[in-house]
Amino acid sequence: MSDQSVSDIGRDERIKETSRLRKALVRPELGSICGAILVFVFFLLVARDSGMFAVDGIMNWGVVTAQFAIIAVGACLLMISGEFDLSVGSMIGFSGIVIALLSVTWGLPMWFAILVAFAVAMSIGWLNGYLVIKTGLPSFIVTLAFLYILRGLTIFIAISTTNKTIIGGVRDAAEGDWLAPLFGGKVLKGLFVWLADIGLVDTFVAGNLAGQPVVEGIPMLIVWAIALIVFAHILLTRTKFGNWIFASGGDAQAARYTGVPVNRVKILMFIFTAFCATVFATCQVMEFGSAAADRGLLKEFEAIISVVIGGALLTGGYGSVIGAALGALIFGVVQQGLFFAGVESSLFRVFLGTILLLAVILNTYIRRMITGEK
């Protein structure tokens, strides 16, 4: 074959040259980048004077964003590997109760309670994955079953041991523990004192905290969120395992033919999702000082919506951790922003549904561009 004909094969006169713009458009994060910019512009216009963009305001929606982000990261990798986990919300409630029950009710050390919660939750994550792989049932059904099983068990355990659905006193039990500050502590406290000294951060003017900065430090929740986002993003885009995640979700059979251990990848992703849910639960229990059996309600859907806004396909094989994190940011900013702007908070759900619909439509369009389907 001559060189002439070789170069001819690559250039088909019926294929238009794709513009740079179009190429830039075909990225999973596109929708969430646009959405995030839009949301920030909106609230800068509407709620600028409400303190939303002061340091304590930023910390307010930053924490909410971090909460969404932690569970969205797990859901994101799992969705790219081709599966769902609807039991995330129930898992949050369950892990919280396990921690409070062991540490407060039974008086065991806090670090032990936390480690047990992680072990139990990750075992349930493994069981979710194992059942999905072994039965071949859709993960939607298997994890829906666990949504109910775990929630029911959580309430049952709480009631039958303490006669209550809320177990308090966690903060006292965590006093002096070495592991608890990893979830409930705050970092960079010195920085905020310094920022207050030079006048960049407001200080309390009255009360027993007078003179201290309004923001004490960065909560570990935000540190966890950033760490998980960075870890998951690198894992997905820069490692061999990341390629396996894409392959498992893209076409499990084709991946198996080339030697990708699809079952192992999927089960590990279920375990990782459970890990993220437990990080969320532990941070929340430490922050509130109590665990409640109804915590984490609907969190699984919020996680999935964040991921979908971030450009992941519900069918798997495509998506981005950065996108999911931006999806979480949109959520956090809007949920708290509506409060700052003095808008009725029930409108948040209207927004949620609308943006979900728009995101899915955009994603479908992007996928058609990538695969050339009609």
Binding site: G10, W244, F246, D251, T371
Partner: protein, 259 residues
């Protein structure tokens, strides 16, 4: 004639009461394209799955490079150098060509003791291998979904050869393709063969087989009807053998040799 790289002797495969293969023999030598022909249900798929380690034969012997072969899993066969390219399941459309090319064989580099996917190496190798096969990519990050069916087959074949396939089994690579794409795939088979790889080309299209085949084995109802060399057999004879010499002979006239 060189020694066969793989020899299948009197292979039988029973699935319960169904006898899928009733004593099939075939051998493949390096650098040849051995066409396996047969109508639907003739046992072609069962036979190549036996060769690639998916099925264990009920009876019969397989010799790979002169030694008796007993693969437990397809993975063992792949490791030994027997690669199978399936028609629909070769590539993942949403992933880039380079990610697809190295799927399951990702190159890694160590940074600070951690192992990372070596994207630069993967991209360079992919572009080079694709150029050799006559496919000019826009870039290594181009999604496989934008390639045509023939190009996808070619990428899958190039991938198998790059990772050291000694025997390349192609399961009906041309049956869903148009004329031009088919000719590209056939040209690819020719290139691979000239590199010394033994190609097993499964098809039910006599013209595709005759275009590249060195030898032809016809299966019918789980039995082999013999192996013929190139030039020893006419398209009509092959066609008749595939249909088991049955009514096709009479149909031939009315169809005007178009089958």
């Amino acid at each position: 004639m060189t020694e066969p790289i793989i020899q299948m002797k009197d292979i039988e495969k029973h699935f319960g009461a169904v006898i899928a293969l009733a004593g099939v023999s075939m051998d493949v030598v390096p650098g040849e394209c051995h066409c396996l022909l047969g109508d639907n249900g003739a046992g072609k798929s069962t036979f190549i799955k036996t060769m690639s380690g998916v099925h264990k034969p009920t009876k019969g012997e397989i010799f790979f490079e002169g030694k008796p072969m007993n693969f437990d899993r397809p993975r063992d066969a792949i490791a030994a150098g027997i690669a199978t390219v399936y028609q629909d399941l070769a590539m993942i459309p949403l992933m880039s060509v380079s990610r697809n090319f190295f799927m399951g064989n990702e190159p890694t580099k160590k940074i600070a003791g951690l192992s990372f996917f070596d994207h630069k190496h993967a991209n360079d190798v992919t572009m080079e291998e694709m150029r050799k096969m006559g496919i000019n990519l826009r870039g290594p990050d181009q999604a496989v979904g934008t390639l045509s069916g023939g190009e996808r087959q070619t990428v899958a074949i190039a991938r198998a050869v790059h990772f050291g396939a000694k025997i390349l089994i192609l399961d009906e690579p041309t049956s869903a393709l148009g004329v031009r794409q088919t000719s590209n795939v056939l040209a690819t088979i020719d290139k691979v063969r000239s590199q010394g790889v033994a190609v097993v080309f499964i098809t039910h299209n006599v013209r595709h087989a005759l275009a590249v085949g060195d030898r032809f084995t016809v299966l019918d109802r789980g039995k082999t009807l013999g192996t013929a060399k190139r030039g020893e057999i006419t398209p009509e004879e092959l066609q008749d053998m595939m249909a088991g010499g049955r009514e096709l002979a009479t149909l031939e006239g009315s169809l005007g040799g178009t089958v």
